[in-house]
């Protein structure tokens, strides 16, 4: 088992009272799975994703990655874990606008041992993988939304993570581009065995997901 969530709960306490965003979620993700967390906005998908990725501390329950309980790890270990085992893709791409596509990819690679030459080769390899081999020296603002998202996917894959989390990765894209990105996800999942856990409200994901999990009001309501 790659990723396990047991009875996860998250309660936000605000000045106006407490909000239970995730209520007793239990989830198992095997290596090589393509899991989609689907549900309407505000159902707790992102919060669940945050806890699975170690960004949020659960109010109750536990998250284990390869048996290692995330909320027991010290901060620097969590940083190391995100650097080596996890990848993230977001709705807004969040590429560094002043860096080229290749530089955006070498940035996470620079966190690991290696020479500049190997980093550049790996960046080029990743760009080829997402079909942007000829755009290495282009800046994000010179690319379309779909291309930027593909660079973001490549960046998430840079350090060969065991699992890639996606938070509404196609929310900013039109349908054709969404399908192209989903094709890429499916291909990476199929050819590389890359594990994906993606939160979305887009029903198109249902056609590509290995497992389609529905959420409502902080709970898993069907699979």
């Amino acid at each position: 088992m790659l990723l396990e969530a047991d009875d996860l709960t998250k309660i936000y306490v605000t000045g106006y009272g407490s909000v239970e965003a995730v209520r007793g979620v239990t989830l198992r993700v095997n290596a090589g799975e393509f899991v989609v967390l689907a549900g309407p906005s505000g159902c707790g998908k992102t919060t669940l994703l945050g806890m699975l990725g170690g960004f949020e501390t659960p109010s109750g329950g536990a998250v284990r990655l390869q048996g290692q309980e995330l909320n027991q790890l010290p901060p620097h270990e969590l940083v190391r874990l995100r650097r080596t085992h996890l990848g993230f893709i977001f709705q807004g791409f969040h590429l560094l606008q002043n860096l080229t596509a290749a530089e955006n990819l070498t940035l996470p690679l620079a966190m690991r041992p290696g020479t500049a030459a190997t980093r550049e080769a790996r960046a080029q390899e990743l760009l080829e993988l997402v079909g942007l081999g000829g755009r290495a020296r282009h800046f994000p603002y010179q690319m379309s939304g779909g291309e930027q998202q593909r660079v973001a996917i490549a960046r998430a894959l840079a350090n060969a993570p065991q699992v890639v989390f996606g938070d509404e990765p196609t929310a900013n894209l039109d349908e054709d581009t969404t399908r192209a990105v989903l094709d890429l996800f499916a291909r990476l999942n199929r050819e590389l065995g890359q594990t994906f856990v993606v939160a979305t409200h887009d029903p198109l994901f249902a056609d590509y997901a290995g497992r389609y999990v529905r959420m409502r009001d902080g709970r898993l309501v069907g699979s």
Binding site: R83, A110, M111
Partner: protein, 537 residues
């Protein structure tokens, strides 16, 4: 090593977002310029403007040269040529001399070549003076306008102040000067003393360096007389500095001119007599007619009324013999000088002059130039500098920066405030730059960047912006500062010193601020809610 890559990424980001960095860079440039302004006001501090040209009404130019700093000048131990600075709470009215003289008296190696060159250049302003070498130049040079009474190449000075009148009668301690139309004859000279003002903080001294012989005097008494000074003698004159500005405030006394009261002869070879006259007790300790080597000139009694304070009489050698003959004294052969310590104010000095003229009917009394501003300025247009400007120049500030009535400390405080505001503006802009990177920082943290990498990235950008601002500011400020310093006659040495101070101010202000900004930014980045930011929150 991993952080090095992030430094490079940060630098690239800063370079490619110059418009974002421009405001911060401009604010630092403004800060740099303000610092330069501030420094031009400050150039009057010790070590930077001690040799600033002093121009005064009356046609006199006074150049202060730090004598002890001149190469080759070797004052004997214990010989104090200059005024001592007033002690806190002391009664010294000569505080205006501080801190320059205090500095000159304690620093033996501070004179820069530029200072020496400046002194030489001013010496060259007077015919016959250019031959003086820097080594011969004494601490203070009181030069007289050409074509007037005398040309002076080396003269040290001391002075005293008459509290009652606000004037100072002073001793001109000497080196060599020349009377027009006479053969150049070196003269040693001597200092007066001021019994009325004598205190631990109110001392004067002088020395003469003539033909390699050195005589040092303190409180009007010889401290060091290593050997007879055969070269001394010849032309002596009575001179007093004229002061102004001290009637209400002693600390604001300024010399505005040099009055030549008389020019008299001194027999040669009478240094021994002079030295004894100047032993503790002074003239009054030696009864008339009892001077060693012969009777004391009777005129000694004439010029020594009890109510006089200080003065120095330098008597030309030709008249000295006349005077000596009148009193029936045959001085030994050789050269010497005769010094009369005078007491009293300026009016009394005129009485001395009259008495000497009576005693020496054949003496040529030098014309005393009027200390009237209009005539003085007509005499030498080059010296037509208003007093206020002269005082400003004296303090190292440019007249345009130190308005009359505005104390320099207010000007400095204003500049400091401007600098602080500009620096804080710079810091604020830096911080804005940093927090504008919140999405980039969040993305990096999501990708596994630790605080080290984030700090490296932000630090590179902060450093790039700070460097850009400093370079832009220095590009404007350095030429400005250079112009200010050079136009104030401070030379290359002064320019380099001012540059150094500007760089120190800029670096000293920028580096800590950038470090603080980076530290705050790193703390902020550590607390950044990564998911919320990346979701657009």
């Amino acid at each position: 090593m991993r952080n090095a890559a992030f430094w490079r990424f940060g630098w690239r980001m800063a370079r490619r977002s110059l418009s974002r960095s421009a405001l911060a860079a401009i604010s630092l440039a403004v800060a740099t310029l303000v610092a330069a302004f501030s420094l031009t006001i400050d150039t009057g501090q010790p070590g930077t403007a001690a040799v600033a040209a002093r121009r005064y009404l009356g046609g006199s130019i006074i150049v202060q040269i730090p004598a002890l700093a001149l190469p080759g000048v070797d004052l004997p131990s214990g010989a104090s040529w200059a005024w001592q600075p007033p002690a806190p709470g002391g009664n010294g009215p000569l505080g205006w001399l501080d801190p320059e003289l205090a500095w000159a008296g304690t620093s033996a190696a501070a004179a820069t070549p530029a200072e020496v060159a400046r002194a030489s250049a001013l010496l060259a302003h007077f015919p016959g003076v250019a031959q003086a070498t820097p080594v011969e130049a004494l601490p203070a040079l009181w030069a007289y306008a050409p074509g007037r009474y005398a040309r002076v190449d080396v003269i040290a000075r001391s002075a005293a102040v008459d509290r009652a009148t606000g004037f100072a009668s002073g001793a001109i301690t000497a080196g060599r000067y020349f009377l027009p139309g006479e053969a150049d004859q070196p003269v040693a000279l001597v200092d007066g003393y001021r019994p009325a003002l004598t205190s631990a903080t109110d001392r004067s001294a002088g020395y003469s360096r003539d033909n390699g012989r050195l005589v040092a005097l303190s409180q009007g008494r010889p401290e060091v007389l290593p050997a007879p000074v055969p070269a001394v003698g010849g032309n002596l004159s009575l001179m007093v500095p004229i002061w102004t500005g001290g009637a209400a405030d002693w600390s604001r006394l300024r010399p505005v001119g040099l009055r030549v009261v008389g020019a008299y002869a001194v027999p040669e070879g009478h240094w021994d007599w002079i030295s004894q006259k100047l032993t503790p007790g002074g003239m009054t300790a030696i009864p008339a007619g009892s001077a060693p080597g012969g009777p004391v000139p009777s005129s000694n009694q004439v010029v020594e009324p009890a109510d006089w304070t200080t003065g120095t009489v330098l008597v030309p050698a030709g008249y000295w013999r006349t005077l000596a003959a009148q009193v029936g004294w045959s001085p030994p052969a050789g050269r010497g000088a005769w010094v009369l310590n005078l007491q009293g104010g300026l009016a009394d000095l005129n009485q001395v002059e009259a008495a000497l003229q009576q005693a020496l009917p054949d003496a040529t009394v030098a014309e005393v130039p009027a200390l009237d501003a209009a005539t003085s300025l007509q005499r030498d247009p080059a010296l037509a500098v208003p007093v206020q400007d002269a005082l400003a120049a004296e303090r190292g500030a440019t007249p345009t920066q130190t308005s009359p009535g505005v104390p320099p400390w207010i000007a400095r405080l204003t500049s400091l405030a401007g600098y602080v505001v500009a620096v804080l503006l710079f810091g604020g802009n830096l911080y804005v730059i940093v927090i504008n990177r919140r999405r980039e920082v969040a993305a990096l943290r999501a990708a596994g960047a630790g605080m080290g990498e984030v700090a490296a990235l932000l630090g590179a950008e902060i450093g790039a912006v700070a460097s850009l601002g400093a370079i832009c500011g220095l590009a404007v400020a350095l030429p400005f500062l250079t112009w200010q310093v050079l136009s104030n006659g401070l030379g290359i040495g002064g320019m380099l010193a001012a540059w150094g101070r500007l760089l120190a101010v800029v670096v000293g202000g920028t580096l800590p601020l950038a470090a603080v900004t980076l530290a705050l930014a790193t703390i902020w980045a550590a607390r950044l809610p990564v998911l919320a930011v990346l979701r657009g929150g």
